[in-house]
């Protein structure tokens, strides 16, 4: 153990440090000024986000159980940025009276899930993966049930924890079979020893579905909408972006580096599942009235699109997925940011409530529109580039029909995104949401999102950067 560990495991260690600091602060802070913990925590987190960008040597720890490569670091940084935005967006909400007694809990829970994700991203062993996954999931259930006095929140919590328990059970069962056929669970060794025996395949499928649950791929997605709707908006935004992103990322790593031997198999599976995911997600999204639920289904279909990058199965696929996740974080958080701001101010969460929003809140409406366009993949915002690269990755493998279906699906999704835009810009309302003045953190968060949405696409350097790192997954 030397300093090297610190630098390699920097993200996780810093996160834990922040966790502890918040805990300490919670104990010693003057109760009257507990609200300031919010600022304290966000600033701390901002600092570690910046620190995350420091250059770092590649390497591995614990006998390759923990691996650091540039792309994994990049992914962590992307998640950090996302979490920073989420935290910024949470400040107003946490300042509310009903949350005043559990401010630090929020941070602790949230940051511990992030720690879990970081470990998951860096994992080089299925045990590490599993631990990270659970660490990322169990506190999330608590977060989903964060709103103690809301039926929906409680329901969301129980649905999340029980479903995810089931899925991790199945995932573990799969792992146990893989273990039985291979003899150990290091990524590198499994990759070398993996056979196409039926037991191993069964194990793979079980593992696959466990992961698919996390990414909410149809038909393993059913928890998603309910949890998203029930959980507090901030948590939903976190769920939809960060936890899904982390799971997706490691999903690709595992598929690419552990199971390349059966790539034909999982490509076919993903082919079917991605079509299902996009289509079902979209079809459900069409009818939604609650904005959170709406975004939940939209995020399901987004996962379907991302699978197109996964199916690419090469550096381009990897790069396009990571890039898209970055874009997606900005876009989705932008959309959620507006929803949060409005929910905080007026408590309204239905699409109908947004009628005539542009008249009263032009700025928020424009941000929402940008974010939705980005999600729909409309140029010149970043989502277009993200989608384009995903489709390119799939097309490179010759999956043109799949690409066609995906793009046709984007039309359905465009339809419902336009419904929201229509509500804001075209529909008239008797009592629109009054003009609201958002505070600095919210503005900062939204500015970050808008900046990301606008710049990430045009600035080719970002994509090229990710692309260059994606070699040697």
């Amino acid at each position: 153990m030397s300093l090297q560990i610190f630098s390699l495991m920097r993200h996780e260690l810093l996160l834990i440090a922040v966790l502890l600091l918040i805990l300490v602060a919670e104990i010693f802070w003057d109760p009257a000024r507990k609200k300031n913990i919010r600022i304290f925590a966000v600033i701390l987190f901002g600092i570690i986000t910046l620190l995350g960008f420091l250059p770092v040597p590649e390497g591995s720890l614990f006998g390759e159980m923990y691996i650091v490569t540039p792309v994994r670091l990049m992914m962590k940084n992307i998640l950090n940025i996302g979490v920073l935005i989420v935290l910024l967006q949470s400040i107003t909400w946490l300042g509310k009276e009903k949350n005043s007694d559990k401010i630090s809990e929020y941070f602790i829970l949230l940051l511990s899930t992030l720690t879990g994700m970081s470990y998951m991203i860096s994992s080089g062993h299925f045990l590490m993966l599993y631990l990270g996954l659970e660490l990322a999931t169990i506190p999330l259930a608590a977060l989903a049930a964060f709103d103690r006095y809301s039926n929906n929140s409680a329901e969301a919590g129980i649905k999340l924890i029980l479903s995810s328990a089931l899925s991790s059970g199945i995932l573990l069962y799969g792992l146990s079979m893989i273990y039985g056929t291979v003899g150990n669970l290091y990524f590198t060794e499994v990759a070398g020893l993996f056979t196409g025996s039926n037991l191993a395949l069964l194990g793979f499928i079980f593992f696959f579905t466990g992961m698919a649950f996390k990414i909410s791929i149809v038909p393993f997605h059913l928890w998603t909408a309910d949890v998203y709707e029930g959980a507090p908006v901030n948590v939903t935004s976190y769920l939809s972006v960060i936890s899904k992103g982390a799971a997706l990322f490691i999903f690709i790593i595992v598929l690419f580096s552990v199971f390349p031997a059966i790539s034909v198999v999982w490509q076919k599976m993903i082919y079917v599942l991605s079509i299902l995911t996009m289509t079902i997600g979209n079809l459900f999204a069409i009818r939604q009235q609650n904005l959170k639920r709406f975004l939940a289904f939209s995020s399901i279909s987004q996962a379907g699109y991302i699978l197109l990058g996964v199916i690419g199965g090469n550096e381009l696929g990897m790069a396009s997925v990571v890039y898209y996740l970055l874009v997606y974080i900005f876009s989705n958080l932008g959309a959620f940011g507006v929803a949060i701001a409005i929910s905080n101010a007026s408590g309204k969460e239905n699409i109908d409530d947004y009628n005539g929003l542009y008249k009263t809140n032009p700025g928020l409406s424009l941000i929402m529109m940008l974010a939705l366009f980005s999600l729909a993949g409309i140029p010149p915002v970043a989502g277009f580039f993200g989608k384009f690269f995903l489709f390119t990755a799939a097309a490179e493998q010759g999956f043109f029909i799949l690409v066609l279906i995906a793009i046709l699906n984007t039309i359905i999704s465009l339809y419902y995104y336009l419904l929201v835009i229509k509500a804001m810009f075209i529909n008239k309302s008797e009592n629109p949401i009054p003009p609201l003045k958002s505070d600095f953190p919210t503005r900062l968060a939204l500015t970050l999102c808008v900046g990301g949405i606008v710049i990430v696409g045009f600035a080719s350097i970002i994509f090229e950067y990710i692309r260059n790192m994606s070699f040697g997954v």
Binding site: L166, Y173, N184
Partner: protein
């Protein structure tokens, strides 16, 4: 080492437990019952791991440790789950899973 019980027995036991767990998950109406079914699933996994480790790869203890971790995590999971179930009980005055369906479609 070989005390007469073949590996398959363990595996069959584990699969039975697994499916019993799943069956329980799908049919129990009580949230606690569902949670217990999940534990059943996890334990079947543990059996698998241990059996494989003991029979096939006795030179390393990966399976053993894996199952230790699973037990630990399962405990944490159960703790959170039960906490939420308690809250459910407060809010819904029931722990019947069928009544916890305010959000749908």
């Amino acid at each position: 080492m070989n005390n007469g019980i073949p590996l398959q027995y363990f595996l069959i036991l584990a699969s039975i437990m697994f499916f019993v767990g799943i069956y329980g998950f799908l049919t129990r109406r009580n949230l606690i019952g569902i949670l217990m079914s999940v534990e059943l699933i996890l334990n079947s996994v543990n059996i698998n791991f241990l059996a494989f480790n003991r029979y096939l790869y006795p030179d390393r203890l990966e399976g053993l440790f894996f199952s230790l971790f699973i037990i630990a995590v399962a405990a944490a999971e159960a703790a959170v789950a039960i906490a939420i179930i308690i809250n459910i009980y407060r809010r819904f005055s029931t722990v019947n899973v069928e009544h916890v369906n305010e959000m749908r479609f």
